[in-house]
Assembly symmetry: C2
Homo-oligomer: 228 residues x 2
């Protein structure tokens, strides 16, 4: 039995969230391996021991970052899926949301994306991994629905989901939330190309891709700013 104080009770103290947020930013900036307790503690004016007290180990801290992040993403996905019936609307929503994360929660999004690989092999990541799988399954199911409905041309839904996730998850390497490029424009361009690639007629695709259209508005309502 390791630390009994960490997981169950959810003490949710003020300092705890602050630590997690700072740690997340450091992971986003430098990567997990180069992020360290000392820097986080120094920035918050506390001792390294305090961090250990709250989280136990570095691994668990990262796991908690991933789990919280994916938990929010899953909630949002279920919310906009409930509101958008069309397969092309739903795929567009996934794209709009995926891009939107980069500005809504830049640090957490980058931290998640650059350390996703740890979900596959690292122990202690089972929860986060199954959340990630559930999210991907939602996309795959949507792609299959669209095929059956005749909205998308037939193809390999799993491969297409990976193609789509690649474009979104790679954003952390080039997208700057404070830069000139606006996230809505990125999402719109990605949507247009992807939907056309899936065989969606141009007028239907353009409506779903439109940054001011119904899909983007729905996503904007569902995906609202989260605590830092």
């Amino acid at each position: 039995m390791t630390g009994p104080a960490v997981a169950p009770g959810r003490p949710r103290g003020g300092r705890r969230d602050e630590i997690l947020a700072t740690f997340t930013r450091h992971v986003a900036d430098r990567g997990y391996d180069r992020a360290n307790f000392g820097d986080v503690a120094a920035e918050l004016g506390m001792s390294k021991g305090t961090i250990v007290h709250h989280f136990g180990t570095k691994d668990r801290m990262l796991a908690e970052v991933q789990e919280r992040y994916m938990g929010r993403r899953l909630d949002e996905a279920h919310a906009f899926l409930a509101r958008l019936p069309g397969p092309e609307q739903r795929i567009a929503a996934f794209v709009h949301a995926g891009v939107r994360y980069s500005t809504l929660e830049p640090a957490t999004t980058v931290a998640f994306q650059r350390e996703v690989v740890r979900l596959t092999d690292e122990p202690g990541m089972e929860t986060a991994r199954s959340q990630r799988d559930a999210y991907r399954d939602l996309v795959v199911a949507t792609l299959r629905d669209g095929e059956e409905a005749g909205v998308f041309v037939p193809g390999d839904a799993r491969l297409r989901s990976l193609q789509m996730f690649g474009s979104l998850h790679w954003m952390w390497t080039w997208f700057d939330p404070d830069g000139r490029l606006r996230p809505e424009d990125v999402a719109a361009e990605f949507c247009r190309t992807l939907l056309r690639g899936l065989g969606v007629p141009d007028d239907l695709g353009a409506l779903a891709a439109d940054p001011h259209g119904p899909v983007a508005r729905c996503v904007a309502e569902v995906c609202v700013s989260a605590p830092g």
Copy 2:
């Protein structure tokens, strides 16, 4: 000894390449931060000091991996661009090649992709960065050519190139060269969806995407197996 014909003239001899290949594999498996001299040396039955003797620092070793990798990729790109006139053929070739790397040089490809972010800020990576930029510029130019020729529907060529690179560079997180999924099939599916997304007519796109078609054959001839 086991070495194959030690090159007489140059220090670029067998042992050095062996070190680089092993280091590359370790970076691919564990990431740059967790890859270390000790393990590489132990695996090759040599001293840590030998590695330092050949490469100086760890940073430089990674830089050399990236530079060699991008150098080969640039040569190949110029080769198939010279042989394929059509913009849709050229884009398809970039995709076929991008997928092909994953099986031709799995270790180097994964090492490159998972550490690409170091090209942007790390000092000593200027050469590799400019090579990467040159490669991306080739794709962007091809996309613009295709627009002007009326083969692709108008759009943001830079964003489209990032969308495309994302799909390919993300492969290291899910593609298994020894798995059941064949790389040609991945490339074909990616090509079909992407080319259709760019507005290429289905028959023209299908030909360029075909794993046994002229484009794939050209790429297979140009991108041949390289040493580690």
